[in-house]
């Protein structure tokens, strides 16, 4: 289980209804269902991931997030979660708006491009970073909209999105305590709990 997912669990109330955008093989949804007795549903586009997730007994809809969420009624879920997918969609701001329409509350996690390693890589080598966390070349990466912690919070301010809580992950334990103090410089993954 990725570290950001265990952090999200804290914000999910018992018995809540949860929609997971880009739910992958459903591991996290299955955990939420078990731990929170939640009514859960996932959206995914990868065929094998969909099969795995359905095999866990989960409700999964094959749907491309870039085509929006127009088929989901407003405020039909207590919580809409999107983990590590914001940077991979065509219009991140529109997906955020749609999440906030469908869910009463949302949790978003994304890799922080402002982390010092990315900065150092770009500054010293003058090339897009390729690392363990971002193992793609610029031309074949699914991550087409990287942003930093500061970028995200600026967007929230501009769009009137309330930040109910945030948490940062910095790789190891020491990294995480640095990340909580100076998020934009040390967070590898940012986690935001937001609402309208």
């Amino acid at each position: 289980m990725r570290q950001d997912l265990t952090h999200i669990l804290r914000w999910i109330k018992s018995g809540a209804s949860v929609l997971d955008l880009g739910c992958g093989n459903g591991e996290f949804l299955a955990l939420i269902q078990k731990e929170r007795h939640a009514r859960v549903m996932g959206i995914e586009i990868d065929p094998d991931a969909i099969t795995s997730a359905m095999g866990r007994g989960l409700n999964i809809i094959e749907q491309n997030l870039d085509h929006g969420l127009a088929n989901f009624p407003s405020q039909s879920f207590d919580m809409v979660v999107m983990a590590h997918a914001l940077q991979a969609v065509q219009y991140p701001d529109q997906v955020l708006e749609e999440m906030l329409r469908v869910g009463r509350e949302c949790v978003v996690t994304f890799p922080n491009f402002g982390q010092w390693r990315s900065r150092v890589h770009l500054a010293t080598r003058g090339r897009m970073p390729v690392s363990k966390f971002m193992p793609y070349n610029w031309y074949d990466t699914p991550n087409i909209h990287f942003c930093t912690v500061r970028d995200f919070e600026t967007l929230c301010r501009q769009r009137g999105i309330r930040i109910l809580g945030r948490d940062m992950i910095g790789g190891d334990e020491g990294g995480t305590s640095l990340a909580r103090r100076w998020p934009n410089l040390f967070a590898t993954t940012a986690i935001y709990h937001i609402s309208r």
Partner: protein, 376 residues
């Protein structure tokens, strides 16, 4: 015979003496339903799966009737030990619907009131009437609640109708390559098929059995046009392309088939017209045309689905243009709007509408994954 086949199966017939009134107001005083079962019903009758057949389908969905039967039942790809609908875990019931021509009461059976075959006088059933008859069969078999009702195409419509008509009598509804209602284009194709049959002099206004004629050509034509709509452009191109018949005549004015696709369609038409009843074909296409899931709910599918109590799996196939993925997504969207539990997958497949009958790996994998949940 394959290892994972249900093996040799024998159909059963149940007779019903309680009259059944159809939606059209007409009444069958008594009737028979022919069906097959695969697997064992468990102690609390909680593992029963109903298979609903499509336009030209019947009760023989899996296994073989004899050692020398050439092909297994029509959905043998999905039903059997170790297959997605696993007969080691489920008790599977597959019947021939009323109005059919494979052993259930229909146009080819004798009308007890007149002593003549029904022919064109058989009452026109709707999908709901089939569901009512299926519910009585369920009662007879001691099944109060199906673990799942499963169907493709017209069978998927029956599955959806079950979830609205008897919401407490199924836990899961599996709807494959179906739609909530037909489009004008769908109806148009069915109308061509009916005209082909009815304009054949052998049809004799439907009284061909009485008159000793057969609308063989018309029925074959109907099947040919239907068959085109079941295949995709790509599937036809890759199977036949523009290949000529090895023995095609040089004289282009000849009636003999020139291209392989012509020969194939003629063969399909001839095969079909030798085993299928023309009145049944007319009646089945009418039931298909008139199906409208939301009609009884003010035309609102969301209101309709709000009645349901089961979980849904909806599947579509990328190149199906008879019941395209867009039609399946309408079902999914209505279920989402009604806040019902639903799963959906669009299977990449070249085979068009026919894909729902074929062993396409991802299709089988998704169905198997879902059926595990039905079993849980």
């Amino acid at each position: 015979m394959q290892e994972n086949s249900v093996g040799i199966v024998s159909p059963r017939v149940e007779r019903f003496d309680e009259p059944l009134t159809f939606a059209c107001g007409r009444r069958l005083p008594s009737y028979e339903l022919i069906f097959e079962t695969y697997g064992e019903l468990n102690g609390d009758a909680s593992n029963a799966i109903l298979i609903c057949h499509a336009l030209s389908g019947h009760h023989h969905a899996a296994g073989y009737h004899s050692d020398n039967e050439r092909k297994p039942g029509w959905w043998d790809a999905c039903i059997g030990p170790g297959k997605p609908i696993d007969t080691r875990r489920f008790f599977v019931v597959s019947l021939n619907n009323l109005g059919g021509c494979h052993g259930s009461t229909g146009p080819t059976t004798e009308n007890p009131e007149s002593g003549q075959v029904f022919g064109p006088d058989f009452p026109q059933p709707q999908v709901d009437d089939w569901v009512d008859a299926q519910a009585r069969l369920a009662d007879r078999l001691g099944i109060h609640c199906w673990a799942a009702v499963v169907g493709g195409s017209l069978g998927g419509m029956q599955a959806m109708a079950w979830s609205l008509r008897y919401p407490d009598r199924l836990r899961h509804c599996v709807v494959i390559a179906a739609a909530m209602k037909l489009s004008a284009q769908n109806i148009a194709f069915n109308e061509i098929a009916r005209r082909a049959i009815m304009s054949d002099p052998g049809f004799a206004n439907g009284h061909y059995l009485r008159d000793g004629t057969q609308p063989t050509q018309g029925l074959a034509l109907a099947r040919m046009v239907g068959h085109i709509t079941y295949l995709s452009d790509d599937a036809m191109a890759s199977r036949f392309g523009r290949e000529l018949q090895p023995s095609h005549p040089d004289d282009e004015s000849s009636d003999a088939p020139q291209f392989q696709i012509e020969s194939y369609l003629r063969y399909q038409g001839e095969q079909f017209s030798s085993v299928f009843d023309a009145n049944t074909y007319v009646l089945m296409t009418r039931a298909l045309d008139h199906f409208d899931l939301a009609a009884a709910y003010g035309g609102d599918a969301i209101t309709a689905f709000s009645r349901s109590r089961c979980d849904y799996l909806v599947l579509s196939f990328s190149t199906d243009w008879r019941f395209s993925p867009a039609r399946s997504r309408e079902i999914v969207d209505a279920l989402l709007a009604a806040e019902r539990p639903v799963s959906y997958a669009e299977i990449e497949a070249d085979e068009g509408h026919d894909a729902f009958l074929l062993p396409i790996p991802r299709y089988l994998a998704v169905l198997e994954a879902y059926m595990k949940r039905v079993d849980a």
